[in-house]
């Protein structure tokens, strides 16, 4: 009898801990924490969103929070929810994102709130390598703000609270694939309002 009770207790305890572990690892805040490449405020999956060898927990998080990403050789998805100083991105602030083209065939910088586009009159949710305006040195600047800004501007509409940035790079070059931790990625600077 004691052995039966001990076995039942073992099963219940094991199932309980497994459930808690899954719940903890599936939290949205943990989406890019495991097996991630970090570069300043940006991070991305080390093995790629759709990689067949990706860890089970990573694929489960992708299934829950995004879905159907490609392998790193095809696309690298950088994401951040903080600015370059580490402060959480907030719809009540104005941001200047400054960068130059990384080693990739095409890139696209887009803004999300709760993983979806933020409604705005302009229907503008992103800029890309091919439609961004450039400086003389080929660098570019994108502004993210609820208030209208000159140049390339992604409006935050009426949204409140936090938001996220995604920097998708299609057909990344060798330097991005092999040296993701050290390549130059866009800087996200919060502007202080007067």
């Amino acid at each position: 009898m004691i052995y039966l009770l001990a076995t039942i207790a073992s099963i219940l305890v094991a199932a309980g801990f497994a459930y808690l572990e899954i719940r903890y690892k599936m939290r949205p805040a943990r989406l890019r924490d495991f097996d991630a490449i970090k570069n300043g405020n940006w991070s991305t999956s080390r093995r790629g969103e759709g990689n067949r060898e990706a860890r089970r927990i990573h694929r489960a998080r992708i299934a829950k929070h995004t879905g159907f990403g490609m392998d790193r050789s095809e696309a690298i998805y950088w994401g951040t929810s903080v600015d370059s100083s580490g402060r959480p991105l907030d719809c009540g602030s104005d941001y200047v994102i400054h960068g130059s083209d990384p080693d990739t065939r095409w890139w696209c910088l887009s803004v999300y709130k709760d993983l979806f586009f933020i409604p705005n009159e302009q229907d503008r949710y992103s800029y890309s390598k091919t439609d961004v305006q450039r400086e003389a040195d080929n660098s570019w600047t994108i502004r993210v703000s609820a208030k209208e800004k000159p140049g390339d501007w992604i409006p935050l509409g009426e949204a409140a609270g936090g938001f996220t940035l995604s920097f998708r790079c299609y057909n990344p070059g060798a330097s991005m694939i092999e040296h993701g931790e050290t390549i130059e990625l866009p800087r996200v600077i919060r502007e202080d309002r007067p």
């Binding site: 001990a6 076995t7 207790a9 073992s10 099963i11 305890v13 094991a14 199932a15 801990f17 497994a18 459930y19 572990e21 899954i22 599936m26 969103e49 759709g50 990689n51 067949r52 990706a54 089970r56 927990i57 694929r59 489960a60 992708i62 299934a63 829950k64 929070h65 995004t66 879905g67 159907f68 990403g69 490609m70 392998d71 050789s73 095809e74 065939r105 095409w106 696209c108 887009s110 999300y112 993983l115 979806f116 586009f117 933020i118 409604p119 705005n120 229907d123 949710y125 992103s126 890309s128 091919t130 439609d131 995604s166 998708r168 299609y170 057909n171």
Partner: protein
């Protein structure tokens, strides 16, 4: 039996069981979440093995989280449980284009982009997708792909990037190419 030994055995058994439950749970949960997402596609119930061509996505789009704002997507819930299928698509020039096959555990098990396609196959591609037990023999220039055993139902996604969403002429040209993608069954 010594009580200390019993406790050690109990702890080891519990740890092993926890890992088994964890792996089974996280794997099953991934399949469940992906199936739930696939069921949200307009063609899931009555239109398997047909493409659903999406326009450029807006803030009203809720089908897939974190969508690509510059992409025209063509999505197909494939089903190769009864017979293989053949995908025919035109490969556009001057834009990023790719066709990807996704398993029910989110693994992307086949990818072909425009550069590879044009180098190897030209402006038209034919891809045959079959179940893992299929005896189908590819013919001519067909690309033959076998779906993983647990993913005889899954997702085919063609992404065509519109370089500038404001360039209506270019979008119209890309849409024309996008809609040439078709799936046809391969009956015995």
């Amino acid at each position: 039996m010594n009580i200390v030994l019993l406790i050690i055995v109990w702890l080891v058994l519990t740890v092993v069981l926890e890992r088994v439950f964890y792996i089974a749970g996280i794997s099953g949960y991934t399949y469940y979440l992906t199936d739930r997402r696939l069921k949200g596609f307009p063609t899931y119930k009555d239109g398997k093995n047909t493409f659903w061509h999406s326009p450029l996505l807006t803030s009203a789009s809720r089908l897939v989280p974190a969508p690509t704002p510059h992409a025209l997507n063509s999505a197909c819930i494939y089903d190769v449980r009864k017979h293989p299928i053949r995908l025919k698509a035109s490969v556009p020039h001057g834009v990023y284009w790719s066709v990807t096959f996704f398993a029910r555990n989110q693994a992307c098990y086949f990818t072909l982009n425009d550069i590879e396609a044009q180098e190897k196959y030209g402006d038209e591609v034919e891809i045959v997708l079959a179940g893992s037990q299929s005896g189908y023999r590819p013919q001519g220039r067909e690309i033959f792909v076998q779906a993983p055993g647990l993913s005889r139902v899954g997702l085919i996604l063609i992404r065509t990037v519109v370089m500038d969403p404001a360039d209506k002429d270019n979008i119209a040209r890309v849409v024309e190419v996008q809609r040439q993608a078709v799936i046809e069954p391969i009956e015995n």
